[in-house]
Amino acid sequence: MAEIKKILIANRGVPAVRVMHTCRDRKIPTVAVYSTPDRLSHHVFVAESAVHIGEAPPIESYLNMEKIINAALQTNCNAIHPGWGFLAENAKFARMVEDAGLIWVGPPPNVISLMGDKIESKKCAIRANVPTIPGTNNVMSVDDIKKWMKDENIDFPVMIKASAGGGGKGMAKVSSDDELSILFAQVKSEAMKSFKDDTVLVEKYIEKGRHIEVQIVADKFGHVLHLYERECTLQRRNQKIIEEAPSPSLTDDLRGEICFTAVRIMREIGYHSAGTVEFIFDSQKSKFYFLEVNTRLQVEHGITELITGLDIVNMMLDLAEDKPLDLRQSDIHPNRWALEVRLNAEDPKNFSPSFGTISRLQIPQGPGVRIAQSIYEGCQIPPYYDSLLMLIMTAGADRDDAIRTMDRVLSRNLRVEGVKTLLPLLLSIIRHKDFKSGNFSTKFIEEHLDELVATFKENTPDDEILKIAKHVAKISALGPQEWM
């Protein structure tokens, strides 16, 4: 059994701070890494010490594997936690960490690489008898697709995906015969450009699908537990922005089925550490299909923690120390409803990123609220990294209760000045009748964007007063103006 004595967090922003919090609970000293523009970032000061690892571009810093491992070795760390994003699902990095004699807080490198390949992971799912979206892997030509559709009795639309793809790249939805050959060629060429691998697969496209995922923890001794599901259907540009647990779309029977299905596949692939199995749920037909396995801590893990009372990062650290799980499935009883919104620094009307200095920050508190943030008043939001400023989670006895609390948080006393944020959009969404009734799909935001924008809340007096103060400042400095 290996004890983590000191740990390097190979990340920045919200994930780095999140992991450091639990490490602090366990009194494990933490080392932060930072790029040049992050020198004064929040995560640097939450850690015990910090190492500069390079310039702004991620490839020179947060994706620079050698520098990160050297930093860990130099600071006498014996473990690395990758957070989420950057190197969290990089099998090569996981292997390098282990080869350097460090503890890798995550699943085994071979599992990461297996699950990183869409075709391979789908094969695993089929072996574990997990329903997968009807599709075919061996696609060399348009005729292959047509033959498959005829044989399996599949109608348009279908989805062509790069086998090595991810993050919304190398994907195309094909709605008719006419588009097929153009889009097939396009995905292949994008796949080649982006992933240097033009293997593609094709699947049936699930209309109005909902995105449901199951949180798994597993130890090295074959114990695989699920921590129930999360619903992450609300996305914009294939990026989640609102998540909740439990899912409002499942019955108890389906919930049991989807959770045990997830356990089955994770056991099949020999998973350990924390991970997530993602499904697409066809709510009209009450059927779910395996999508992929995320071999890391997820952004939205916090809502699972809120409903179960468990600390998933704490469990990851235990599991990395080769401890067995000391819980049984029957010990896990979710008893809350939790909601999470991602407060990104983006223009809420068009998602164009916004960066600059946070000139004012007021973080809402009150009953039922959990905030994970990585910003402070006066800090800079550099343009090089992702736009997540803050995760805001609320929990309540039921869904309405959690939404009410979220409404309170978003509409009172949350102030971020200096950059644009998604706040108005998030508030419009949680106030929308379809969201409240649980009736939405992954296309909800694009379908309702104009309506949502139209209901953006008017300015508050706290916004208005700053305009007045600006005039006072200006005239105090310059005196009466010519135009007066």
């Binding site: 990123p353 000139s359 007096p461 208005e464 700053l466 103060a469 006072v472 400042a473």
Partner: protein, 670 residues
């Protein structure tokens, strides 16, 4: 106590109540013309609204609080919206009739509007009493305003522009009143206003005019609006009342200077002593007068530099409302010393081209006459000024405006006198505003204005009202233009501001977007001068909550910027204020097909593409070829050439942060 005059009454009821009123009622101009005539319209609604609770109980006929130049100065100088003002006053004095002053086809702007604009604008403004005048007394021009106002059930108050001169006889005015009665289908739904905008009507002249109108139209109710410039306002108002005028205009005594209306308390006392009752709560009026003294000191800076009554106004006819602004322009233009000469020229000019000196006529007179004097002054100094006055004096006074009685060389000089006259003067004599009250000016004026082109120009001259000749405006097109200039959808009210004053409305909307409700909540001294010393603070309520802004420090100027620290409800806030010396880091935006703009905010991390390397000006690129890549929040965004082209300019460098739509490349299509 039941109010006799209040919003919601039909025009018929109002007229009936005026007829049966024992004595006279008063329109208080404290919220508009008083400020326009002596304080350049700078009185802020922040201060004026403190009078509303008093107005509510004063028993006024109406409060003139809107229109004239207050609208334009509001958006331009005070950054106040006339619609916002009406809403505020309605709330604070719900039982007072609100009155506007509107310039027939010019509305509250400075160009004749087509019928569709007039209908659109007049329908949108919540005013009870609509005083409408024509600087030409061309009643045809009032038609559309009258129709819309009367259809809405609001009181239409047609005004005759009054001046005292040999050509403005009772007979002339009765003709104008005939036109008005025709237009308004009788006398039962209107109140006629005699608009003595310069304050020139002698008591006897006014008595005679009111009497003549009353004899012809005994049932027509008359209101006398008069400025005080000649020093004879009170006796003239009394004689109007004695002759049968039922409503008089006045302002708070503490607001009176020289060019506005008569003092209300003095007027009331004077009327009562003469046996005419004034419908007015004296006690509350005294309180309003006192209230004014609390804030009027903040407006000393905008009082006219020309002080004192001026009986010579009977000659030069400059209207009270134009006094402060004309002197201000003269001061700014550095020709204040020429004012006596300009006023003298005005008194001669108005006998050559006959109309009434009130907007837009007063501006035409002002620009034309100050232009003539300035030209002569620049060319020949004082001698030149004296020379042109002598020339005009000879033409007008000695030769009774007969051009042919002048010597040859004098004629030649007169034939260039108007060559530099403003465009609006040309429009005026070409009939673009309507018919001139005494007919077109003499032929030599056209020769003087247009030179050799004069016969052609004369053929263009219109006899019809602009209402009949101006083509409808495309409102959607105007709206799109406005939207383009401000970058957002305007409200209906903002759009109306734009229709009146396009340039100033854009600046107004931008100001309010940037500074919000500042003009409504800041006390006047802070609004205009800011906070002076560290520790000075200003406290006020905003949307139901208390706020405090305190000055912490004003830094010294560095490279055109001053850092100002203020505390907003005890939290420090730093503002970087650009001084006029600040260098503008200009960011060009892409326009048109040949300029390539950034699709997003981000950082240029590559110019060119991996296949060919960097790209520079002069390189040829193919349609679809990547020419740069922008990174934002980890996502790469390729910029591709939209067509085969030569790169004519590369505006950005690698690692430049760029804004959405910022110009990146200029291309020349192949």
């Amino acid at each position: 106590m039941e109010k006799i005059f209040k919003p919601g009454l039909s025009p018929k009821e109002i007229v009936q109540r005026v007829r049966t009123l024992d004595g006279v009622a008063i329109t208080l101009t404290g919220m508009r013309d008083a400020g326009q005539s002596d304080f350049k319209n700078r009185h802020r609604i922040y201060d004026l609204k403190t009078l509303s609770p008093f107005y509510e109980d004063m028993n006024l006929f109406s409060s003139e609080c809107h229109g004239g130049a207050r609208w334009h100065v509001g958006i331009m100088n005070r950054k106040e919206d006339p619609f916002e003002e009406i809403r505020l006053l309605r709330e604070l004095m719900p039982s007072v009739m609100l009155q506007t002053l509107i310039r027939e086809t010019n509305l509250w702007g400075y160009r004749p509007y087509p019928k569709n604009v007039i209908e659109y604008v007049v329908s949108a403004v919540d005013i009870d009493v609509w005083r409408c005048f024509s600087f030409l007394n061309d009643i045809r021009n009032m038609k559309t305003v009258a129709e819309v106002v009367m259809k809405r059930g609001r009181l239409f108050q047609p005004a005759i522009s009054f001046t005292q001169s040999h050509w403005t006889t009772n007979e002339y005015y009765l003709g104008v009143v005939d036109d008005i009665v025709d237009l308004c289908a009788g006398v039962n739904e209107i109140v006629l206003c005699i608009k003595d905008m310069a304050g020139v009507g002698s008591p006897e002249r006014i008595r005679s005019l009111v009497d003549a109108i009353k004899q012809k139209y005994p049932e027509l109710m008359i209101q006398y609006h008069r400025h005080a410039t000649d020093g004879l306002a009170l006796p003239a108002l009394l004689s109007a009342a004695k002759a049968g005028a039922k409503i008089l205009d006045a302002e708070e005594d503490s607001l009176t200077r020289f060019y506005g209306q008569a003092p209300i308390l003095s007027l009331q006392a004077y009327l009562e002593e003469s046996g005419i009752k004034a419908l007015l709560n004296r006690e509350i009026t005294e309180k309003a007068t006192e209230k004014v003294r609390e804030w009027i000191g903040h407006y000393e800076w905008c009082e006219s530099p020309f002080k004192g009554f001026d009986h010579n106004v009977t000659k030069h006819k400059m209207p009270g409302g134009a006094f402060p602004s004309s002197f201000e322009q003269a001061e700014k233009g550095g020709f204040l010393h020429l004012m006596p000469a300009i006023l003298r020229v005005m008194s001669l000019y108005n006998q050559i081209v006959k109309y009434f000196d009130v907007t837009p006529g007063s501006q035409i007179t002002w620009v034309t006459c100050s232009g003539i004097i300035n030209k002569y002054s620049k060319a020949k100094g004082e001698a030149g000024v004296n020379h042109v006055i002598k020339l005009l004096d000879k033409l007008v006074e000695k030769n009774n405006c007969d051009f042919h009685k002048m010597e040859n060389d004098e004629q030649e000089e007169l034939l260039t006198l108007f060559r530099n006259a403003p465009g609006d003067f040309k429009n005026l004599i070409l009939g673009n505003y309507g018919k001139l009250p005494m007919g077109w000016p003499d032929e030599w004026v056209y020769k003087s204005t247009f030179g050799e082109e004069w016969p052609d120009k004369l053929k263009e001259r219109k006899e019809l009202s602009p209402l009949d000749t101006i083509k409808p405006d495309d409102l959607n097109k105007h709206k799109e233009e406005f939207e383009e200039k401000t970058g957002r959808k305007p409200t209906e009210e903002e759009f109306i501001l734009y229709l009146m004053h396009p340039k100033d409305a854009v600046e107004f909307v931008n100001f309010r977007d940037e500074f919000g409700e500042t003009p409504l909540v800041l006390p006047t001294n802070v609004w205009r001068e800011g906070l002076k010393m560290p520790g000075d603070k200003v406290e006020f309520d905003l949307w139901g909550k208390p706020y405090c802004i305190e000055l912490v420090s004003v830094g010294s100027e560095h490279e055109g910027h001053i850092y100002v620290v203020v505390k907003v409800n005890n939290s420090a806030k730093v503002y970087t204020i650009a001084t006029p010396r600040a260098k503008k880091a200009e960011i060009k935006m892409a326009k048109g097909a040949n300029q390539i703009g950034s699709p997003i905010n981000g950082t240029i991390w590559r110019i060119g593409n991996p296949a060919r390397g960097s790209i520079k000006a002069g390189d040829i690129v193919q349609k679809g070829e990547e020419i740069a890549n922008i990174e934002a929040m980890k996502m790469e965004n390729a910029i591709v050439a939209p067509f085969d082209a030569v790169i004519s300019d590369v505006i950005i460098k690698v690692n430049d942060p760029v804004q959405e739509k910022q110009l990146l490349f200029e291309l020349k299509p192949l």
